[in-house]
Amino acid sequence: MNPSPKQAGPDYDVMIVGAGVAGMETAASLGDMGYKVLLVEKKPSIGGRAILLSKVFPTLDCASCIVTPKMAAAAHHPNIDVKVYTEVDGIARNADGTFAVDLHSKAAYVDFDACTGCGKCEEVCTVTVPDEYNYNLVTRRVAHIPFPQAVPKKAVIDRRGEAPCTFTCPANVKASGYISLVRAGRYKEAFNLHLENAPLVGCLARSCYAPCEQDCTRCGKEETVHIRGIKRFFADHYYADHPEPEYGPVEKQRDTRVAIVGSGPAGLSAAFYLARNGHQVTIFESETQAGGMLRTGIPAYRLPNDVVDRDIKNVTALGVTIKTSAPVGSVAELKAQGFQAVFIATGASDEKKLGVEGEDLAGVMGCMAFLRETKIGTMPDIRGKAVLVIGGGNSAMDPARSAIRMGAKRVIIQYRRGRDEMPAHDWEIKGAIEEGVELMLLSTPKRFLGKNGKLEAVECLKMQLGAPDESGRRRPEVVAGSETILPIDLAILAIGLNPSTSKFTGEVPHKHGLLKADTRTMQTADPAVFAGGDCVTGPTMIINAIGHGRRAAFYMDRFLKGEALDIEFEALLEKTDKDTVLAEAKSFRTRSPVLQPTLALAERKQSFACYEGVMTDDEARREAHRCMNCGQCAQCMECVNICPAFCIDFDMRAVAKKFTVGAVVLSTGFEILDPAAKKPLNYATLPDVIDGPQMDRLLAPTRPYNSVLRPSDGKQPESIAFVLCNGSRDQTLCNPLCCRIGCMYAIKQAQLAMGALPLADVTIYTIDVRAFGKGYDEFYEQARGMGVQFVKGKVARIEQLEGGQMELAYEDMEGAGGTQKRKHDLIVLTVGFLPNTDAFKLYKGGDLGADELNYVKEVDPIGEPGRTTVDGLFAAGAIIGARDIPDTVLHAGAAAAQAAAYLERTRSQR
């Protein structure tokens, strides 16, 4: 009697969509009959909503106790293949009566085969979200096992995208991750996480332009999370505790030798990641000290040298050798020394010239030279002098603001376009003006005038803006005859920098001095030579150079190991849609940002001391709390670090699957109506007005508070009200149907509440008590016998009173009549159900019929339960209309029988 063996038949006899009570029952019935069943569930566990219940009416069996055997039976059935965390994308009927189904298993970021369900990831996870398994009464972690009785008991990590901060960062530093670690008070972990993407934490904390902050979702609320300020906090915190790195060279050293030219951010970063992989790294630096632009190009008030030194220790601790005062003449020279690979990271610090008369005079210098001499202390005294800085970019701000600190009498920034066109950051310009820098806009030097070879004045021309150029900015044009003479002692040219690549342009292909390197691998035409940072891109941000350094290190490592370079460097998800995050956060309070303290203006103007302060412990954590966890998982890596089974994998992606199945049973259940739509009942605003599913959680053995407490203040309620028929039999919410179970679960909850709180008064407000199933009316009478009060009345309004109680106004249909009022501590709204309309999206044929309320329609409810308008596509349980568990089980059995008969018929026809 076994179903006949199939010849190249479908992959499965039946696919069942949705593994709640209906799906599990249908699957078990068909599996017992010998059919091969594919049971698909989109959630990480089977069991549906029933497993989340407290007890069930009218037997008062513990829901776990009766549902877990069903779950286990489905999961271990030899004929049932359970696929959890899997979505159905499409179902199409084939001509032979079988169905083609498209599925995809969602990325759980956990290898289910390896996960033991130990829950350690959940313990260390730093991000919380509302716990849907507790109907949002409490929160759960983003890395989570759905609930203790989950089948299979596997962890899942929620990731809906890359956080914009992380996504935007050129080095993809996991800002969301270290913010969540700071929030959790794990500062050292935050620092170590940062090292995974960028080793120069201290420098970035002070001088990164923080593109992350510009892309922060919180900007859509009030203002960005001060990400760099948080970084400054944990970087300083860590360095104060750890003057030296906690690690040494890696154990497994290789004999591959790499030369890096230039010890700026790109070179240092590449060295760090190469050394971590055991390669022997030597950095060649032409200056006397390492650090490149970090050391010589950034004024000390922003980045003091001791921070640069400490950051460099992160690299040298791994055994990296830095040779200073060691200029490199060519790649060939390095190769001759036995280096198997070279990374050119010489930056772009060659100053551009204006090409006007008098540019050679003493007193006319480039901004890099000025900054370098200032920082190393060789800059002559400029106290009382007039300083002109030419240029409108960020590199003009640094010398201008430095000059103020050095006591210049007057500091002017001259720029040929207007204020709005200045490429410098607005906050930089504002800071400069605040400190006393003057702006001379729409002006350009015509020539430098001097005496005895020394600058005395600058002849300036007025400019006006003409038509836009190719960059979209309006082209400045000289106003004829507008020459004026400006007395100036020191003119600093901040008009741009050229790549410092002259030594290599003979060997490496380039364009205007910019070395040509593959944007993905940073490899140049010579496979052994890689290049990155400003010498490839021209002057950009530190973080960009660091990104290049790490990327180059990744591919150089592969190159050195003889591996192919055609694999992805870092698989990022899509950037999270900010509107989605903001929509969720509608109810969030506005939280004013915690700003880093800034040195007072007077002090600032006289000192090269850091003008930004550091947040305190509290401030940093408070600021970190402003993060909206855009991507859900913040990738703080705590779970990865603790998982004993090594089963967490952020590179995991959804996997599509296609099957042919003999028949399909849809058992996708129902949706729960949100009672917030009934405004006068104040469900959304009053914490002690909860809905029925939440009350069930409060009463469940795995309940969130381990007692029946009202959410607002944790007090045990002395008076509990159940208000029936919210969104069922309810024309105001366009849901005229009776939900069939509200009366019964309210009666159940009332009985359980009386058991948990024997002194509490329990009242049920009802229109009719619909106790119509087997044993139900007896159960209702039992509740009345226990002292549950039943009031025939429609509740109109719930309001908060002083002192915690709420007042409920209802139309008294019996007794005194009229509008009556009563006070309660906790009010439970039993809620109606809505159809789950997924089925209509899943089935691609278009001929799946719906009833007038959009439930899946049965063609013949009396004679053919479970049969839809599509032959071979069956419906089981609440998908055709809300119902209780017994009716669901019966209906599921019917659907199973229908599917079996269909399979027999279509098989014999094939």
Partner: protein
């Protein structure tokens, strides 16, 4: 015991259900030294997938040959853990479940120390029993691919067709002379608007066309032998001819009996007081003006909950406490039919709660908006029906209008009578399906196993299990079909080996066991020159009635052997140091 046992003991917190009252760690510690115990651990939910996997690994790694799980009642999870043992390659009958919940933690919530002590006693007994287990194999019985369906109402007919569609042979037995049951006479069904009679005719036609269905009308089941997978049933046909059928399973779809009001109950017996079924008959026969006994009908009062939701009283010593489920919908549907016939007839609906659940709400909604008046009464002051001036008068205390007693003049009073279990003593004594407190057949579990009964291989369908509307009866019938299919399509069934065993040395054949056995599982055989008792494995349920009556202690139940029971008593009597 020749060889030292290697027993794994696992104690379940049951998420607090046990561990809130029983100190499970102390219990585990207390049994760690017991001879044979290799592992003693606790689990928060032993039944969870992850815990099971852990236990499986341990059973395999530690080469355990015995397993004790101390958790809830075996009713809930015995099969869960037997299955687990199987997956761990441990014989499932070397698994013993100790009930620390229903028999310990829940029973002693006020005495945690005592509960812990008792837990230790119970667990020691379980371990002692486990130490004396040996591997057993299930008794495999070949199943017959044929089904007996008793009752050819709509549920039985639909079940028969579905079984046949699934490839099983069906014998459909009906006591009456024609199939169809009550549906034939109930007229139009709401809200589907199908006529019961037409539903029946369509099903009958399909049955006629099916080669695989044999319909016996005017036939009764007179005996049943055998057990799951292999029953032999005798039918008596008209004219006392009998037929013997061999089937693998039985579906009981014997339906309900309509409630018969007592004389005087809501005026029953007075002219013009009719049952809902009678009234619908009248409606379906009426063309044009509605008349009753020649008089035009201008006003109809419907009284709900007649024969349902009753409370005990002198006049009603055996109340039907249950709700009959279908009557509210059927009556509000009838209100629509009546209005269709004549919108001018006044309708008064005297109800307690209107239970038009789910989409049936639309029937109630329509009746109300169409002008039917609904008045609510309570059982403390039920409506009274009298004759006054040659007309019926209904006195009702309406709770919705200030509890005033209203008098309604009516030409007809319609009693919405409920469903009752069928009086079917003959069949019941043959099938032995237990009844619920409401008198309908009892299912294994109301919630999750509504069509299975404790008699393996016998299923219930339709209103025989409890009041149901027609569509619900059919769903229930098909659910029973699904379970039947699950049993018979495999071709075999595995039965419990925990059954009686006769010691041929001791047995002297005195027939006491034969008399004690309710299942007819004892047979006399000759062995050598001796006559002894033999247990028919497929019939024995392991119930044990034979054991105490045996004068020679020659009979034992596997799993409850004397040596095991004695060992359990000894073990549980050992003193427990107060935890």
């Amino acid at each position: 015991m020749t060889q030292k046992r290697r027993i794994g003991v696992y104690i379940c917190h049951c998420g607090g259900n046990i561990s809130d009252y029983v100190n499970v760690e102390k219990v585990a510690d207390a049994v760690k030294g017991v001879p044979g115990v290799e592992v003693a651990k606790t689990h928060v939910f032993a039944c969870s997938d992850a815990s099971q996997q852990e236990m499986i690994n341990e059973i395999k790694e530690q080469h355990l040959d015995g397993l004790v799980v101390a958790s809830c009642s075996p009713k809930l999870h015995m099969f869960t853990f037997r299955g687990m043992a199987k997956r761990a390659d441990l014989n499932p009958y070397q698994y013993i479940q100790v009930n620390l919940r229903e028999q310990c933690s829940w029973a002693h919530t006020s005495d945690k120390i005592g509960a812990t002590e008792k837990g230790i006693h119970l667990l020691r007994a379980g371990i002692a029993k486990c130490a004396l287990t040996h591997p057993l194999n299930a008794i495999r019985v070949e199943t017959k691919p044929r089904v007996l369906v008793i009752g050819a109402g709509v549920a039985g007919m639909r079940a028969a067709i579905m079984l046949a569609d699934m490839g099983l042979a069906v014998y459909l037995v009906e006591r009456e002379n024609q199939p169809g049951g009550w549906a034939r006479v109930t007229g139009e069904q709401g809200p589907e608007k199908q006529n019961g009679d037409q539903v029946v005719s369509a099903l009958a036609e399909r049955i006629r066309q099916h080669d695989n269905i044999m319909l016996y009308t005017g036939a009764e089941v007179v005996s049943k032998d055998g057990s799951i997978g292999d029953f032999t049933v005798a039918l008596r046909l008209k004219g006392s001819e009998t037929v013997s059928l061999n089937v693998g399973a039985i579906i009981v779809a014997t339906g309900f009996a309509p409630y018969q009001p007592r004389a005087g109950e809501y005026g029953w017996g007075l002219p013009g007081v009719v049952s809902l079924a009678d009234f619908r008959q009248l409606l379906s026969e009426t063309k044009g003006r509605l008349e009753y006994q020649g008089k035009p009908v201008r006003s109809v009062a419907f009284i709900y909950c007649v024969g349902s939701r009753q409370t005990e009283s002198e006049t009603c010593p055996e109340p039907n406490a249950y709700c009959s489920r279908y009557c509210c919908s059927a009556t509000t549907h009838t209100a629509g039919l009546l209005r269709q016939l004549d919108a001018k007839i006044h309708q008064y609906h005297l109800y307690r709660d209107v239970r038009t659940y789910g989409a049936l709400e639309k029937l109630y909604e329509k009746a109300r908006t169409d002008g039917a008046l609904f008045l609510r009464w309570t059982p403390e002051k039920p409506p009274r029906v009298e004759t006054k001036d040659g007309r019926l008068s209904v006195l009702v205390t309406d709770t919705l209008t200030g509890n005033e007693e209203l008098e309604i003049g009516a030409d007809l009073v319609v009693l919405a009578t409920g469903m009752e279990p069928r009086q079917n003593e003959g069949l019941n004594s043959i099938l032995k399906i237990p009844e619920s407190t409401d008198g309908f057949y009892k299912e294994i579990h109301i919630k999750l196993r509504p069509v299975e009964t404790v008699i393996d291989g016998v299923f219930v369908a339709g209103a025989a299990q409890g009041p149901k509307a027609l569509a619900e009866s059919v769903a229930s019938a098909l659910a029973a079909v699904a379970k039947t299919g699950g049993l018979l399509k495999k071709g075999f069934v595995d039965l419990e080996p925990l059954i009686a065993k006769v010691n041929p040395e001791k047995c002297t054949w005195c027939d006491k066991c034969l008399q004690a056995c309710p299942y007819g599982a004892i047979k006399r055989i000759h062995t050598g020159e001796k006559e002894i008792a033999l247990v028919i494995e497929s019939l024995c349920k392991g119930e044990g009635a034979c054991v105490p009556v045996c004068p020679h202690d020659a009979i034992e139940i596997e799993g409850y052997r004397d040596d095991q029971i004695m060992a359990m008593i000894d073990a549980s009597l050992k003193e427990v140091a107060t935890p």
